[in-house]
């Protein structure tokens, strides 16, 4: 459930721009974990995630502009982080296992619906979670991470990624189906590894 903190975030940012350091601390505390896990989930590299995370907050600190009315602070923040990471990849290249373009239409019919029993046996092993996440196509992973860690609505994700809302919705559905399958079925995980 999305917290109705949009105005609060904007108010905190305004207070910070007017000289209230405590407002920034509160804003940072509110979004540090979600943003970091989103970046870590995207790049899979803790050091790189920290670098981009710091760069994102520093650019927010250096920017004198206040939040635009039409954009939520959180969307703005995650967009900065995402852009910084893409810039880094453009500059230094990507050091991760590449995924071929994921044909959603081809894979979707084969994703079986997990049974309630399978849901109960979802692995809580963090390595399995990371592996399952890494196994997702990049576009699906990004949408899933924005939804899971950023707690963004589909419309916000669509705005951030500049994709149609329907595309975002289908990507999220396929991502959830695949994750469910990978985490519920150890054999599927072995196949993907």
């Amino acid at each position: 459930v999305n917290r109705p903190l949009t105005d609060d975030d904007a108010a905190l940012l305004r207070r910070y721009r007017r000289g209230d350091a405590a407002a920034f601390a509160e804003l940072y505390q509110r979004h540090r974990l979600g943003l970091f896990r989103f970046l870590l989930g995207l790049c899979g590299d803790h050091a790189l995630a920290e670098e981009v995370f710091q760069d994102t907050w520093m650019s927010l600190i250096r920017s004198q502009s206040e939040q635009r009315e039409a954009v939520q602070f959180k969307t703005w923040l995650y967009q900065i982080g995402r852009n910084r990471l893409i810039d880094h990849w453009r500059k230094h290249g990507r050091h991760q296992a590449g995924h071929d373009e994921y044909d959603e239409q081809q894979h979707a019919p084969h994703d079986p619906q997990p049974s309630p029993e399978q849901q109960l046996t979802l692995s809580r092993d963090q390595q399995r979670l990371q592996a399952a996440l890494a196994d997702l196509p990049e576009e699906q992973r990004e949408v899933f991470l924005l939804r899971a860690h950023g707690d963004l609505e589909l419309a916000e994700i669509a705005e951030l990624t500049q994709m149609p809302a329907e595309t975002v919705k289908s990507r999220l559905r396929y991502a959830l189906q695949k994750l469910r399958r990978l985490l519920a079925d150890p054999a599927a995980e072995e196949l993907s590894v």
Binding site: A25, F36, R37, W57, I61, P114, Q126, L129, R147, R180
Partner: protein, 250 residues
């Protein structure tokens, strides 16, 4: 259909919740401290820059802020006033030497006048002498001329007698006497010349004092101009020595 959608939403919620709960990874405490310190430092630096906005910043905000139109007119009026003030000052500055500190316009003529004065005086005297000589020659009659001739003769005789009577002393006095009479005549003739020279000296002294004053007051250009003019007009004069002499306290 509704049931399926509800199932999907529930599954999505469970999956998201599961990921949120069991995801690991968080920024280090050091990184947190760095970012928070950077935020505080940015606030401090912003406060200092806001406390001391630059002149250009203030001028910019003053001109282009709220009520900019009135401020523009005030600024333009200020510039116009400044221009008028500078113009008036410049004109006054140009007129000032003529009005107060400049050497009087008659001054350049003074040395020439001084040089001409003796000549003029002598010319006047010569005229008067000629006139005095001419008047008797024209006014006197033949009889008068005879009387005059007699009188002259008498005078010459008396002088001759005097010479004879004072022969011994006359020889002794013969030499100085013409000199004495000559110097007296010279003195009489040079008296107007001396007056004119005194006037010229006085004028020169005034100009030298003027030069000293200009130098003291820092009007170096005017002082140099006057110095050059004095050098031209009195090429034989040691102006520096004269100035030193003037500067010495009596």
């Amino acid at each position: 259909m509704n049931h399926d959608q509800h199932m999907l939403d529930e599954q999505e919620r469970q999956m998201l919740e599961h990921f949120r709960q069991h995801s690991s990874g968080e920024p280090s405490a050091q990184l947190d401290a760095q970012i928070l310190a950077a935020a505080s430092a940015a606030l401090r630096s912003a406060a200092t820059t806001e406390a001391k906005p630059g002149l250009s910043t203030r001028l910019h905000s003053w001109l282009f802020g709220a009520g900019g139109r009135q401020r523009w007119s005030v600024a333009l009026a200020g510039v116009a006033c400044l221009g008028i003030g500078v113009s008036l000052t410049w004109r006054t500055f140009e007129q000032t030497p003529d009005a107060f500190d400049a050497v009087p316009s008659a001054a350049p003529l003074a040395p020439a006048a001084a040089r001409m004065a003796p000549l003029a005086e002598s010319a006047i005297l010569a005229d008067e002498a000629q006139r005095s000589r001419a008047v008797p020659s024209t006014a006197m009659t033949q009889g008068d001329r005879l009387d005059a001739a007699k009188a002259e003769k008498k005078l010459s005789e008396s002088v001759a007698n005097q010479h004879l009577a004072e022969e011994p002393t006359a020889d002794a006095l013969r030499e100085p006497l013409p000199q004495a009479t000559g110097s007296a005549a010279q003195r009489a003739a040079s008296k107007p010349v001396e007056v004119a020279e005194n006037l010229a000296q006085k004028q020169l002294r005034t100009e030298l004092q003027q030069l000293l004053k200009l130098r003291r007051d820092g009007w170096t250009d005017e002082a140099d101009a006057l110095f050059l003019r004095l050098m031209r007009e009195y090429p034989e004069l040691d102006i520096d020595a004269q100035l030193q002499q003037l500067q010495q306290p009596d």
